[in-house]
Amino acid sequence: MRTGNSWKRFFIFAAFPLAVFAIVLVFPFAQGFYLTFTNWDGFEQTAYVGFDNYTKSFKDPVFWSTLVFTTKFVVVSLIAVNVVAFGLALLVTAKLRSANILRTFFFVPNLIGGVVLGVIWQFIFNTALVSISTKFGLPFFAESWLNQTGTAFWALIIVTVWQSSGYMMIIYITGLISIEQDVIEAARVDGASPLRMLWAIKMPLMAQAFTISLFLTLRGGFMAYDVNLALTGGGPYRTTELISMHIFQDAFAFGNFGTGQSKAIVMFVIVAAAALLQVTVSKRLEVER
């Protein structure tokens, strides 16, 4: 770009998108932060209340159980999604003639929105599996998995893996393909076993794919809402509410705008801290090429 006339250039190229960004994202975020220190009730605020909303939030036992449940969900889904996705990527890159078709099958669940997905799986857990169980006498599925907190947790994990492993698989495939063939050849000549090749050569060389995929699953886990809503709806008795739904309920169902918003700020801090930690650690494990 030429120098000079920089204002004109700013107005042509940047002013509108930056203004929209500020109006839609920056301003409500700042406003939301500010409101947590007032007695805002969704319509007006009349007084500053200091940290009252935060203390109230942390005194709410349901919020604590939500935080524990969400953390468990994020950790387990992060591991499960990435292990499965990496396995699928290895499978698809194993030079099979059917690789393309397999890839499509694994990827398609990802195209479908969380709500539709949740409703499909609700049918599977509530009706199909129960019917199989009565027919073949399998006690495992005799009662719908969605009726109990413990099994409902695993139902959420299964559906999340089914939905997002295909997307992460693509990222891992890209990583696997980007490894130079001569490095692999050299390792093969040196007599590296397939397992050792994977562990010592391929995985370090594609560490960037792990960084990205772990970041996306971490973020996705904390923000999960649709699947939660359509699959368990938070039930039984609000025991399977992930943090996102908890905030929604607190503010819009119970009208607690003050605590709802402070919980949202707590969520933001947790997500930001977890994401920063994960990215710093993974970046350190990446090798320069």
Binding site: M1, F13, P17, F21, V24, L25, L91, V119, A128, S178
Partner: protein, 274 residues
């Protein structure tokens, strides 16, 4: 050696096929039950249909107002994605080519904003924009998507534009072209692979988004994901309709994917490597 390899290959093929079937089974189940009358589903959800009925599809189409929801989804997705491509590419060009403290800081803020979850601003969001939303909720939603999507899209474009040599701009500028012409005639056509990525990543997100439309749209302007949620409440009785409705809702995006499969895959991988 080759025999061992052959067996290994067969084993991978078989395990791959089994997993693929497992991934696909839920769709089969939905399809099979969408074709059955109500009582057959209750009797045995796993059996193939004895009598095939398309009744469920007709009912579901009316209930979810299929064509209206589809039109809404298409309008909102196409306009939002188009606007995001237009504005993000221009913003990225500005930020990548103008070296100043302001552009550096702006870029950093954009990148940092990607960690902010929507939930962190959802509650004040609705009270701030209530009036704007009531004026024209579809326009408001598109405006919101530009705001929420501009950071990632600009980031993707920025990485690519930084790799295009400045000489190109300078040569064109010598020939008397202004910034605007340089960008649209020379730079933008070179950005095609990123444009595909930006389009696909954003289209998938916006097409399937649920929370924001749920807060913003009304029944008249509802999108496909919202219209399928309707089956959630009355679910316990009308399985067949629900299944048909779900199929109708996912069909457009699956067809779209099958047509543009290559672009989807390369779009996601270029998007991820950045």
């Amino acid at each position: 050696m080759s025999e061992v390899r052959g067996i290994a290959k067969k084993a991978t093929f078989i395990s791959g096929s089994i997993i693929a079937v497992a991934y696909f089974l839920p769709f089969v189940l939905v399809f099979v039950n969408a074709l059955k009358p109500k009582f057959d589903i209750l009797a045995n959800p796993l059996a193939l249909p004895k009598t095939i009925t398309w009744d469920n599809f007709n009912q579901a189409m009316t209930k979810m107002n299929f064509f209206r929801s589809l039109t809404n989804s298409v309008i909102i997705t196409v306009l939002s994605v188009g606007a995001l491509i237009l504005f993000s590419s221009m913003l990225a060009y500005y930020l990548a080519r103008t070296k100043s403290k302001f552009t550096k800081t702006t870029f950093l803020i954009l990148v940092a904003s990607m960690i902010v979850p929507f939930q962190a601003l959802m509650i004040p969001f609705m009270s701030i924009f209530a009036q704007f939303v009531s004026l024209n909720n579809r326009a408001a939603l598109i405006f919101f998507y530009i705001g929420f999507g501009v950071a990632l899209s600009t980031f993707l474009y920025h990485g690519f534009i930084s790799k295009i040599p400045m000489d190109l701009d300078e040569a064109a500028s010598m020939d008397g072209a202004n910034d605007f012409t340089i960008f649209w005639k020379i730079i933008f056509p070179m950005l095609r692979p990123v444009t595909a990525t930006v389009a696909i990543v954003n289209a998938l997100w916006i097409w399937n988004d649920f929370l924001l439309p749920r807060l913003v749209l009304t029944p008249e302007t509802q999108t496909l994901p919202l219209s399928t949620y309707l089956f959630y409440g009355q679910y316990s009785t009308e399985y067949g309709q629900a299944m048909a409705g779900l199929l109708l809702a996912v069909l457009p995006i699956i067809v779209f994917y099958l047509i543009l499969q290559k672009q989807f895959i390369s779009g996601i991988s270029t998007g991820a490597v950045k």
